[in-house]
């Protein structure tokens, strides 16, 4: 049975389109109004609020919580001090990614981890003798993302401490009578925050935030606008850009952090003696090399126009993410990679895609050809490798 988040009384009233998706068993608005692009521009130009409650949320606490997470997570959790947060992943023994998530360290012994898929059994199986309790609080805690250049101004009106909150920092605070955890995190690549609140205070928090944002042009936004923003931010998405190794049939369907552009997470592996899951496999891969490397792809605007024009068509510039794969070829027509998450980016004013290429082709500026289907035929358009994020405003981290 489909469930409703703690904000549903408000989101239902606001969703004039009645378009909803099912996300982790909850109703999630695709868009609230007739134009998802207008919602997207709210994120990029003013502010938007997004019900991100369907995420799975785990409270991990106990005297051994740090030790437990240090052995589980690929990124070194010991470097995450209380009041900070990390984007992190966890791998299997072969160094393939199981999933990613954001973990907030509330205190020396208490963490809050949010994930897209359920993970409780996997986590609990690895506790062993450690003093750790993992609590699935997914159904008890609502999450509200407030994203966009004006989010700081809006939230500072409710929580003055927000003004001093750095990128990936968090704090406990109150909005009205409601105790909340607020973290400067998000999935849009913009300045933004996520507010974690118990369900029974959910509506009060939604109302307070909505009221504070009204004068600043803030809008609620749905999953479509979020998924546009995340591609521009260069953030890989599970089941689109990669799959969980737990449920993959073959290694072709699996991805390592070194293949997914997450080398930076293990850059300090040499002076970090943690025996975390996947460590040895990653060390081997660092020596032997990876199958793929992640890169951004900028589609050649002129060639895109020419190819479609030659076919008698108006070149499409669709801002809706295309999640299907397109094969990449080199100049000799050899397949050398694949693109996922193609879209026309309003901020970049180009078609962009997240892609995997053979390691020797990952340097920015390499010329490739991307397969497109036009008039029921396979054709190619020129594309160039580039660094991500595609859109990276200074206010994101400032």
């Amino acid at each position: 049975m489909v469930r409703y988040t703690a904000f549903h009384d408000r989101t239902k009233a606001l969703n004039t389109t009645e378009l909803w998706s099912h996300w982790a068993g909850y109703l999630a608005a695709d868009r609230y109004q007739l134009s998802e692009k207008f919602e997207y521009f709210a994120i990029r130009n003013s502010a938007g609020m997004f019900d991100t409650s369907p995420l799975y949320k785990y409270r991990i606490q106990g005297s051994d919580a740090e030790t437990f997470l240090a052995g589980l997570l690929t990124r070194n959790i010991r470097k995450c001090r209380p009041g900070n947060a990390q984007y992190t992943i966890w791998c299997d023994d072969n160094g393939f990614i199981i999933e990613d998530g954001v973990i907030i360290r509330l205190s020396e012994t208490e963490f809050l981890l949010s994930t897209a898929e359920p993970n409780l059994a996997y986590f609990e199986d690895r506790i062993g003798r450690l003093q750790v309790i993992i609590e699935d609080i997914s159904d008890d805690v609502a999450a509200l993302a407030v994203q966009g250049p004006r989010s700081k101004t809006i939230l500072t009106e409710l929580i003055p401490d927000v003004a001093g909150l750095g990128y990936f920092q968090s704090t406990e605070a109150k909005i009205g009578d409601a105790p909340v955890v607020i973290s400067r995190t998000g999935f849009t690549g913009d300045l933004g925050y996520e507010i974690w609140v118990k369900n029974d205070h959910g509506l009060a928090v939604w109302d307070a935030v909505a009221q504070a944002g009204e004068r600043y042009g803030m809008l609620p936004f749905g999953t479509t606008a979020l998924l546009m923003a995340r591609i521009e931010a260069g953030l890989a998405l599970i089941d689109v850009d990669f799959s969980s190794s737990r449920y993959a049939w073959t290694d072709a369907d699996r991805t390592t952090p070194l293949e997914l552009g997450l080398e930076w997470m293990v850059r300090d592996i040499g002076d970090d003696d943690r025996p975390f899951v996947g460590r040895r496999a990653l060390l081997r891969e660092m020596v032997a090399g990876s199958r793929w490397k992640l890169t951004g792809l900028l589609i050649d605007w002129r060639n895109w126009f020419e190819v479609y024009d030659r076919n008698g068509l108006v070149p499409p510039k669709d801002h809706l993410p295309n999640g299907s794969e397109s094969i990449l070829y080199d100049a000799t027509d050899q397949p050398v990679g694949y693109a996922t998450s193609l879209m026309y980016s309003p901020m970049v004013q180009r078609h962009i895609a997240i892609a995997r290429v053979q390691p020797e082709l990952v340097a920015p500026g390499n010329q490739l050809n991307m397969e497109v289907t036009i008039n029921h035929t396979w054709q190619q358009v020129k594309a160039q490798t580039t660094r991500m994020p595609f859109y990276n405003p200074p206010h994101k981290t400032a």
Binding site: S35, F38, F41, G217, Y344, P346
Partner: protein
């Protein structure tokens, strides 16, 4: 007093076409100077704080027909180019009903069916037909037009290429193009639609900036021209630049300067210096001289040919053609600073209908009668209003909770019979405000500040002759082969090294940039040959 300041190219006028032209020239390495009379560049595409905290797009108010290749070739994204979606078109009606069209095709069909079930698929057909004509015509906007007076082999090839292009069009597309280019907007729309509000809303594109009514032959051309825009690939859709059109022209200025271009502000040009039939530089009103072998006028044809140079140096047929080139500006702006968004009774407390264009001109008769007043030398008693509440799209345009409204008004003829605009300015503003009040009761109570911009003000402040926003009327005898005059439609002038790149050249007005770009292409081509 002469200076030793020498450039490869000097552009007179820092409007958007001057900036585009300068950027293309500077990008190739030419030492380029843009000379602007005012304290800021942008020409008619500027943003000003006319009331504390409220930013106004004083004159032009949307990113309309900007050619997408210019965005890429001048690397405008790097310099802050940020076009924002204008979500909808909202057309209130006399009886309290309305038409609200937006981004959702299915919702648009449902909305149109409220007015006419017949028009639901007719609208899809109309859009498709017009888009196909646009696709056929757009190559003409992106290329230097042929010189119809020339027997040069290169020009004959251009003519042949054009003929080939037309011949390759499907007959239905060609015929629709001719219907639009020669006919009236009203006739064209009547062939598709029953609904008066739908027809009138679409017909407004056929009158903007031009002294024609929707029933006049020639309004079809104006309609088609306005459909040539796109926003992020969405055909005939317009955008609003972050920070207004002034935000856009500042982006252009940064691009220009990044290529090494220089801008000289508050430098009114008195004359283009010539000797032996070729351009040598410009002289400012204060006597300062700048030297360059390439001088480009980004001003309108009257100023380019009759004011910046001595018409005695020009062939008399050109002088005659320019003398009768029609400007006859008929558009005005009334801009408001508002304490909040107005309310439309039928929509209760909703405000989302204002996130685009608000179109007041509910029937074809309303528009045509508004034109009738102008024909006889007066402004419309019931004017057509194209309003935009830009602060709903870019909240930085107004203080939190407050709004700006840009009102484009027609008709307001430059020449008023028996009076003048300095006398009529505020009465005209009252007329416009009364129309707004009648649609949005309580509108007047929201007004914190009002700025009336008449055609005379456009001429005085921006420099566009007779306040014509397109640098010259969009009439068939003044387009393509003939813009601004037969034989001089390729950005050159009879004075060697002296060029033109303003909206009075092909393709024409709107925030498009094509004249500036094509003129640069012509200049650079001539450079290679010289």
């Amino acid at each position: 007093m002469a200076t030793d300041r020498t450039y490869d190219a000097i552009i007179v006028g820092g409007g958007h076409n001057g900036l585009v032209n300068g950027a293309y020239l500077a990008k190739t390495g030419l030492k380029t100077l843009i000379i602007e009379r005012r304290h800021l560049v942008g020409g008619a595409a500027i943003t000003e704080e006319l009331h504390p905290g409220f930013l106004f797009t004083t004159f032009s108010y949307a990113l309309s027909l900007l050619r997408p290749d210019i965005i890429q070739e001048l690397e405008l994204v790097k310099h802050g180019f940020k076009p924002l979606l204008m979500e909808s078109t909202f057309a209130p009606m006399h009886d309290g009903n309305y038409l609200l069209l937006g981004q959702d095709h299915q919702a648009n069909i449902a909305e149109i069916r409220r007015h006419s079930k017949h028009d639901a698929d007719a609208y899809a057909q109309y859009s498709h037909d017009v888009n196909r004509v646009c696709r056929a015509i757009k190559p003409l906007l992106d290329n230097i037009p042929p010189d119809i007076t020339s027997r040069d082999p290169e020009e004959l090839i251009r003519m042949a290429t054009l003929a080939q292009h037309m011949r390759d069009l499907e007959p239905a597309v060609l015929h629709n193009a001719v219907r639009l280019l020669t006919g009236s907007a009203a006739d064209f729309l009547d062939d598709y639609f029953d609904s008066e509000i739908l027809k009138a809303t679409l017909a407004s594109s056929g009158i903007i900036g031009t002294k024609v009514g929707p029933m006049s032959q020639g309004s079809g051309l104006v309609l088609l021209y306005h459909k040539m825009g796109e926003h992020d690939g969405d055909q005939s859709s317009w955008a609003f630049h972050k920070g207004g059109n002034g935000g856009f022209t500042q982006v252009l200025a940064r691009a220009f300067e990044s290529y090494g271009g220089e801008i000289s502000l508050e430098s009114p040009v008195a004359t283009v210096i010539t000797s032996n039939g070729r351009a040598r530089g410009v002289a400012l009103e204060d006597g300062t001289e700048f030297k360059a072998d390439i001088v480009v006028s980004a001003l309108d044809p009257r100023r380019t040919f009759l004011e910046l140079v001595d018409p005695g140096e020009l062939p008399s047929d050109l002088v005659e053609n320019i003398s009768r080139f029609r400007f006859q500006g008929t558009s005005a702006k009334v801009n408001f600073a508002l304490d909040g968004l107005p309310k439309y009774p039928a929509l209760g407390n909703r405000g989302d209908q204002f996130r685009g264009f608000t179109n007041i001109g509910p029937t074809m008769d309303y528009l045509e009668r508004a034109f009738d007043d102008a024909k006889y030398g007066w402004y419309s008693k019931q004017p057509y209003i194209d309003a935009c509440f830009q602060s709903t799209i870019d909240p930085d345009m107004a203080p939190p909770g407050k709004h700006v409204m840009s009102g484009f008004i027609q008709y307001a003829p430059y020449d008023l019979k028996g009076s003048d605009w300095d006398t009529e300015r505020e009465t005209f503003g009252d007329t416009v405000q009364a129309v707004l009040e009648s649609h949005f009761p309580g509108f007047g109570d929201l007004v914190l500040h009002r700025e009336v911009v008449t055609p005379l003000d456009i001429e005085r402040v921006v420099g566009l002759s007779e306040g014509n926003i397109f640098g010259g009327e969009f009439l068939a005898p003044q387009m393509f082969f003939f813009r601004p005059a037969p034989g001089w439609n390729q950005y050159r002038t009879p004075i060697e090294g002296y060029y033109q790149c303003g909206s009075g050249t092909h393709p024409g007005g709107c925030v498009m940039g094509a004249p500036g770009k094509l003129a640069a292409a012509q200049i650079l081509k001539d450079q290679q040959h010289s």
